[in-house]
Symmetry: C2
């Protein structure tokens, strides 16, 4: 798939140059300096020698077979170059040249043509407008980029959407001694994108974790499918830029891509098991941790320190990430006491005191790692007279090497020289300057542990009355109404087996009374109208009707008021509803993100919805696990659990409500908005009951989907 | 005050040593190497020469006058040494020796004696158990520490509570090229503490900002007074460790100090204008920014970049801190267009594109700084072929030097060598590796701007019926009840002019009916009892009583029920209350932190109080500004403003309620708990009305304060 690009046996650099400080020259130098294992063929109309390699005036002239063509010629020559590559039988392209989609309409058109050629010729193409590709595997040894530094060998597969940023990143990674296996700068991602790389790396053992820098996600549902599967095998860590509205607008003018709404992106990444970072700094720190630590068995952390202050700060940071401060076993404490001075504290954080010699670091670490109550260890060192930081680090790494099954992270609050020294060494432990950084790393390890242990989850398929739902929606569409009436909305929910409150529809006083008597008092009466959507504003909702007599009065009064206001025309009738008692109002529904598709929402409803914003989002369709996580992730979950003596809500029934909604929106993807507000928690049964509902569709799309022209159509032909 | 210690003309090092890697030797080397401007007198029983200085066998033998004695002798000799120092007429001590309060009871007793001597002799003393003191002013040039590195000269005054951590910090600061003016390691802070240093530095022009590392605040109210005043003149930035319960417990076993509850600490720092950081990394980053930037005039940020990706990330980070993305003026855009290439974007973030030469950096920065719509500038550089990072930095600094009035921060995503190079240069601009770090810096500058512009605020003194309140409280105390009854609580609030709902107390059916009729229906009836505090549990609250007849029924029913349950004994009577309509329930009250004293709370009440935790805290007494900030800082403020068509609440009246509560607790500091829950917002008037109240006092303290033995006592003698 991508092997012609990422593991080529021969590379042609089309646009190679002898002119210093040009991309065509820098790229040739990198290929040469990093000692690419295959053949290198510079192509330049002038021929001659370039960086010690024989240059050819055209690609056709190249004597051997070419796997990968790296293209750095001017944008206007790129289409012809692709044709020439095709003639030469090349299947892998990496187009570094800029001047396409990112420059506007014309460029986008050329990029469209470029992609058409790539598809037609059966090629794969990285770029255009990118930094290049890298593979550090000794059998490949390819640096086909124009970054400043040569890469460090490691286990990361890295995809970067921004070219220039990619270069910056390579520099920094070199500095941090974070090494990678393969790197793809996808640029405008005309063909190859993050998903292509994910899929390619899924079974590549040389890539043990995947890092992504993204400004947009091209195909969210495909990304979700791949990421959900692959993140169970190896960590995927992503920095998704363009979170703020302003940032997203900056993103849309950049690399020609549209940044998706951040809420949707956040939901998508979370439910796909992708660890989301919010800064490059944290992205790299996490990569460093995954490169050097196994996934822990639990979340209990032991802290070993030679100074109290950093021990406190470490404890603060660890607790803030929700990790546990490990309870050191008594026998471990005893062992520690046997060699540590009396002023030392053997309770976690274990403070060996400032004068702790290297031997104490070794013994303490070894003793603590052996404790079954400890899943991860943070080792802190502050400079003390006579001790060399690098020697302490060596001691830590020595013990770590003997005990590879538990994560150990070092916090060395020392000079930056120490970190430079490390970057020239073979390390097996991540070291940071500050406890907070190390705590974040432990948190990420734990997050990956939780994700890997998370059950897969199923998207259930409920048996529902699809025909009924469909005929209701069709009716609305035929009448050209994007917004279904309350009655229609509730009936659609009912058809999908969602617990709506008992109700019926009446158009005259006799029907009204009959319904009231059959449902049982107290009841609620709500008008339904094709012209008035905000019922309360016109007195269209009457609650707590206690008897037949009161029901008659209220109905007559409503008719009178609507007549006075000239609104009687639109009145379809009234809904008579059981009156559900409960003061816990939740909300659930569906919003559609233009890029990510239908997105489910759940949270605290009522007047608090806007103020508290205690809601959570997931991309549909939901698995059972997704639905349960949604419910448990809002603060109001405590209310559902039965805070302050209220009846616990039926969590499973609410979960099912969300899953049925998810099925509904999957069946009718043209549903644009759907709100159940409130989903009232019944005080007597704990059920979540849809008391009010609103459904809105995208008319054109719905017409297209539901109203085919054949005579037989009753949901049969789609 | 501290000048004998921080600006000494002569120093005796008692315990100076020739033995390598001892504190007594290291300290002598630092003093020598940093070229202390005064006389250095090592004291060691063996005499001889130490690090090139003549040593004396006792302090009395020293020929000249001694301002500061740095003491590093064994703990058991320290008390005698202080006596000897006194004989020599020394007024400044810095006791580095450990082995006092931090080791337990015995050590604490010795430390008590130590302090007694210091007081008796009119000395000031830094330590014990500390790292030492520093002053980089060229006329002093004192490094009396045993840290690894010699200090960098700068403008920071720095207080560190942890000794070892202080050493780590000095190393790192050296590395970051963050320089300071003076440094005090307070250790066990027996005498000199953070407050002493704050006060000393208030008018010292060599100290332009104050940095604190604290594990505890010794005298919160004094700290508040000083910090509030001094932070208006120079930034105070603090790292307060021991946030988590576990961290606080680690802190209390360290440096012998008790960590205060973090909520109180957070409130105290916030209302005193202290910028709180949560990691050393951020503490130093902020210091670097304050050292190199003026306080801006506003919060509008321009971003200049040569790469889109970091521009997006910068925008995200800036927005997340609540800063504004500056709107670049049209004339500025035109100017930029006149020299930038057409592919560049002149809209903020200003993307000069990857190939931007140094000249573009200069011109763009100069043009953008001149724009009146811009208050601060972030300049981003990503490596590009042919450009040297340090040259770009020089260009930025050149323009910065010409335009000193607006903050400029650089983001250079380049090799760490760049930062090492900077640390050997004279810089006028803070440079960071990542946009997020720079954004935090801009945020801190803006925070300081807002604080400096914040009005001082007044603690008003309302005229209240103190005699009434006092007699109610006294009655409860005399009956040995820590918890006042509801009636008493409400009456105390009423006496302090807090709007409580109209009510009266009745003990029989006739009084009940009379009250109901005079208040007007609907009313609420609540029992008051000396034995039952949770009224609702026993059916003691009856709401929405519509008529005299209903009132009679409810009262009779209550008496019956209580008799059945055997609770009639404790019944004092019932409160008949106006029924206030409103569905916005707030809460306000007072909790007492053992270390920080009375702390005010305000926020969303009702069932949401525990679930949403939408409450805020401030240490009492409150200024009018504090009270208003409390109200505006909770999410529920939107409800008060009148979200979703409700009547806006009377913010000033609620503010006054908080201020009157603050006065109440200042008048009676033995009030341990006070809750107004709910403070119901009246739907008709928007007033906040105390519908229910609970007051609890600390009995012994209250007895002590209120019940003096003199016969005349009616609030006259305290």
């Amino acid at each position: 798939m991508l092997s012609k690009i990422l593991k080529p046996k021969s590379i042609a650099v089309i646009g190679a140059s002898t002119k210093p400080k040009t991309i065509g020259s820098e790229l040739m130098q990198r290929l040469r300096d990093y000692k690419f294992k295959g053949n290198i063929y510079p192509v330049n109309p002038k021929g001659g020698m370039i960086e010690g390699f024989q240059a050819y005036t055209t690609i056709e002239e190249v004597p051997g077979e070419v796997d990968l063509a790296v293209i750095v010629v001017n944008a206007k020559f790129v289409l012809d170059t692709i044709d020439q590559c095709h003639k030469k039988g090349i299947k892998g392209l990496c187009i570094i040249t800029a001047g396409f989609k990112e420059t506007g309409k014309e460029g986008a058109e050329v990029e469209r043509q470029l992609l058409a050629k790539v598809k037609e010729y059966g090629m794969r193409c990285v770029g255009p407008n990118c930094l290049g590709v890298l593979n550090t595997h000794p059998e490949v040894s390819m640096d086909a980029t124009f970054a400043e530094s040569l890469p460090v060998r490691g286990d990361i597969g890295f995809v970067s959407q921004s070219g220039a940023l990619g270069g910056g990143i390579l520099n920094i990674l070199k500095d941090l001694n974070v090494g990678f296996s393969q790197f793809v700068s996808i640029g405008n991602q005309a063909d190859v994108n993050a998903e292509t790389a994910l899929e390619y790396w899924e079974n590549d053992d040389d890539v043990k974790q995947i890092l992504l820098y993204m400004e947009s996600i091209q195909n969210p549902s495909n990304f979700r499918k791949l990421a959900t599967r692959i993140s169970k095998k190896k960590p995927i860590v992503a920095l998704k830029a363009g979170r703020s509205a302003a940032g997203a607008s900056a993103a849309s003018s950049h690399t020609g891509s549209l940044a998706g709404a951040d809420k949707a992106a956040n939901a998508l990444l979370g439910q796909s098991g992708v660890i989301r970072e919010y800064s490059l700094k944290n992205l790299f720190a996490t990569a460093k941790v995954f490169s050097n630590c196994p996934i822990p068995k639990g979340d209990r952390v032991a802290i070993i320190t030679n100074s109290g202050g950093p021990g406190i700060m470490a404890t603060d940071a660890i607790c803030e990430y929700g990790l546990q401060i490990a309870k050191i076993k008594d026998e471990t404490k005893e062992k520690l006491r046997s060699f540590l001075p009396s002023a030392a504290s053997v309770k976690n954080p274990i403070d060996m005191i400032a004068s702790a010699p290297i031997e104490h670091y070794k013994q303490t670490l070894e003793t603590v790692i052996a404790d079954d109550n400890v899943d991860m260890v943070m080792v802190i060192y502050l400079p003390f007279l006579g001790l060399k930081d690098i020697d302490v680090a060596r001691a830590v790494m020595e013990i770590k090497a003997k005990n590879p099954s538990k994560p150990v992270i070092g916090v060395f609050m020392t000079k930056s020289e120490f970190f430079s020294q490390l970057s020239d060494m073979d390390v097996n432990t991540p070291f940071f300057m500050y406890a907070e950084e190390a705590a974040e790393g432990l948190h990420r390890l734990n997050q990956q542990r939780i994700w890997q242990n998370r059950p897969e989850g199923k998207v259930p398929n409920f048996s529902v009355d699809r025909a009924k739902a469909e005929s209701i929606i069709k009716q609305s569409i035929l009448e050209n109404r994007a917004q279904l009436t309350t009655r229609e909305s509730i009936d659609v929910l009912d058809a999908y087996g969602i617990r709506v409150c008992k109700s019926g529809f009446a158009t005259n006083i006799d029907e009204v009374v009959e319904l009231g008597n059959s449902i049982g008092y107290p009841v609620v009466m709500k008008m339904t109208s094709k012209t008035t959507s905000h019922k309360t504003d016109v007195g269209g909702v009457r609650v707590n009707i206690q008897s037949e007599a009161q029901l008659r009065n209220e109905y007559n009064d409503l008719i009178e008021k609507l007549t006075e206001k000239g609104l009687i025309e639109g009145l379809e009738g009234v809904i008579i509803q059981e009156m559900v008692k409960g003061n816990r109002e939740m909300v659930c529904g569906i919003a559609t993100d233009p890029q990510y598709g239908p997105m489910m929402m759940f949270g605290l409803g009522g007047v608090f919805i806007e103020v508290m914003k205690d809601v959570t989002f997931r991309i549909a369709p939901l698995s059972d696990i997704d639905a349960l996580e949604m419910i448990k992730s809002v603060k109001a979950y405590k209310l559902l659990e039965g805070a302050r003596g209220t009846k616990p809500a039926q969590i499973e029934q609410i979960q099912e409500t969300l899953l049925r909604l998810s099925q509904l929106v999957s069946d009718y993807p043209f549903i644009d908005e759907l709100d159940i507000n409130p989903l009232l928690i019944s005080e007597s049964t704990g059920e979540g009951i849809a008391v009010d509902g609103r459904i809105k569709v995208r008319l054109e799309e719905a017409l297209d989907k539901l109203n085919c022209s054949c005579a037989c159509c009753n949901g049969c032909c789609h």
